[in-house]
């Protein structure tokens, strides 16, 4: 796989504060879905801002598609490639109607009106908000606003979208809706996704899970690799996915299940295989 974002030995601190991030090494590949987990203050939002040149590393380097974020000339090229969606949908929408807001990014890229129109329509269709294109922002629900915010980034045709806790202010139904949209963009348009989240059930959807604690990467890998390290995660007070938790309890009671199960279907299959086809459920 071709790498898109290369975070190499990054340390970060604000002017004269303590280090917020230390020794971060992380590679995001093209079209990859990465979830970034960690408690409040673990530095995950800071890390996401380093990826689109909103912040510069104190030591080390961040390169996006071969462009170093420290290079001021490339700042806007980098932000075109890596879009950022924040937590509160209300605070990131600039214009009063849906299509005007989606047009904001392409307008900043100084595209022609026809091109902007085309991109706005396409991106609204891709998040399923096209029928709301003329409506006022304040009439939309939280989830719809968040989809408009995502659409505003998609219209800039990025290679990667960073979503900083995009669902934490939404009700469960909107949360699912927004997540489905994110997955759809990843699958259909091959946009790389960095999903910063608190929720385990969101994190396991990703190709790669990165766990952070106190400004360091604790562990990274496929969900299976990460959730095999139950002791490490427990030591740093992460809640495990329910299925992983249950597997662990069964393992502790001398039940011969493999480690790193995070998916219900997989759990049932493994359970069936150890009870040897007998009716157990």
């Amino acid at each position: 796989m071709e790498k898109l974002i290369d975070i190499n030995n990054v340390n970060f601190k604000y002017n004269d504060g303590n280090y917020i991030l230390s020794d971060i090494n992380l590679i995001i590949n093209r079209g990859e879905f990465v979830s970034l987990l960690g408690s409040n203050g673990s530095g995950k939002s800071t890390l996401s801002k380093l990826c689109n040149a909103m912040l510069m590393p104190t030591h080390g380097s961040v390169t996006v598609d071969g462009l170093n974020t420290i290079d001021n000339k490339e700042k806007y090229n980098i932000r075109c490639k890596v879009g950022l969606v924040q937590q509160n949908p209300d605070n990131q929408i600039v214009a009063a109607t849906v299509e005007e807001d989606v047009a904001f990014g392409p307008e900043n890229l100084q595209l022609s009106p026809e091109e902007i129109r085309k991109r706005v329509d396409d991106s609204l269709k891709s998040v399923g908000m096209y029928k709301y294109k003329d409506s006022s922002i304040y009439k939309l629900s939280g989830g719809e606003k968040q989809k408009v915010a995502i659409s505003g980034i998609v219209a800039m045709q990025p290679e990667c979208i960073i979503l900083d806790e995009p669902t934490s202010m939404l009700d469960p139904k909107s949360r699912k809706d927004v997540l489905d949209t994110i997955i759809k963009l990843n699958k259909e348009q091959k946009i790389a996704i960095i999903l910063v989240t608190h929720y385990m059930d969101e994190a396991v959807l990703a190709d790669k899970v990165v766990m952070m604690d106190k400004g360091r990467i604790l562990i990274q890998g496929t969900p299976k690799e990460v959730f095999s390290n139950v002791e490490l995660l427990k030591e740093h007070k992460f809640t495990l996915p329910e299925v992983t938790e249950l597997t662990e309890i069964l393992r502790n009671n001398r039940c011969d299940l493999p480690r790193g199960i995070y998916d219900e279907d997989e759990f049932i299959l493994s359970l069936k295989s150890i009870v040897g086809g007998r009716e157990c459920l």
Binding site: G83, Q92, E100, A103, N108, Q110, Y138
Partner: protein, 271 residues
């Protein structure tokens, strides 16, 4: 709910007025308002009212939205109408004690009420039919000639866009804060001025605090969407002068001519 206030909100519909260029609409609005206050007799007032009703019809906006706006200013209209009833000049029609109602007073009152109402309706038509971004674009274009006094008009237009965008959000925020403070026992109904001011502070401080947070987030969002100053942008919607705009200007000219003609032809009923 305060949120449902119709003032200053765009209402999407497909009408002649929605399609008219925002620059033309602003100029039309300013000119017609001036001439509505220039109506001197019932003939010219009649023409002004016909113009207002025609615009309401052309706007394709449901009547109940106008009624909503109308209700808000109803008290104000009645109040000014009542004040104008009492006039020393003219023939006395009613008299209770020292209060005299004269025919001149009644005329005054009718004129003032219809002028104020027309003004509010025309302004509502304008905001209902004009997208906020079109409005700010138009202001930007119309202010272009004043660029020499060294103000950045594009930036001002961007600020206006954002301000308009955040009105409903902040209103919602105020409602939330009021409820939160009430549930902590804040006293908003007290008649005492000092208590009132103290209660107000308990709204203003959290509101300011959260506004700073919003501003910070918004700046991050705008920067990460490649915003680099209001001048270095293109626009999706370009204001274009069309046949509809000529039609709209033509209507306004007829209206002006009608008002001026009637004012000259017939004797003035109000000063």
């Amino acid at each position: 709910m305060i949120r449902d206030l119709a003032v200053g909100q765009y209402f999407p519909a497909n009408s002649v007025l929605h399609r008219t260029d925002a620059r033309v609409k602003i100029l039309n609005l300013l000119i017609t308002i001036i001439f509505i206050f220039y109506t001197m007799n019932y003939f010219s007032l009649f023409i002004a009212l016909i113009y207002v009703f025609l615009m309401m019809y052309l706007s394709n906006i449901p009547m109940k939205l106008y009624m909503k706006n109308f209700k808000i200013i109803l008290f104000f209209t009645i109040f000014t109408g009542l004040l104008n009833l009492f006039d020393d000049r003219g023939k006395v029609i009613f008299e209770f004690g020292f209060l005299k109602i004269t025919d001149a007073g009644i005329n005054n009152s009718i004129f003032v009420c219809s002028r104020v109402t027309s003004l509010v309706i025309l302004a509502s038509i304008f905001t209902f039919t004009t997208l906020p971004t079109d409005l700010t674009d138009a202001v930007e274009k119309l202010l272009k000639p004043f660029a020499f006094i060294n103000i950045n008009i594009s930036e001002i237009a961007m600020m206006m866009t954002i301000a308009i965008r955040f009105i409903p959000t902040l209103i919602e925020e105020v409602e939330k804060i009021i409820n939160a403070q009430k549930s902590r026992g804040a006293d908003f109904e007290n008649k005492n001025l000092f208590v009132k001011i103290r209660a107000l502070m308990s709204i203003v401080v959290p509101l300011l605090e959260s506004s700073f947070k919003r501003a910070y987030d918004l700046a991050t969002a705008m920067e990460s969407r490649c915003y680099r100053g209001a001048e270095n942008r293109t626009r999706m919607r370009i204001l274009k002068f069309k046949m509809i705009d000529l039609f709209s200007i033509f209507l306004t000219l007829i209206f002006i001519f009608g008002v001026v003609y009637c004012n000259m032809k017939f004797p003035a009923t109000v000063k």
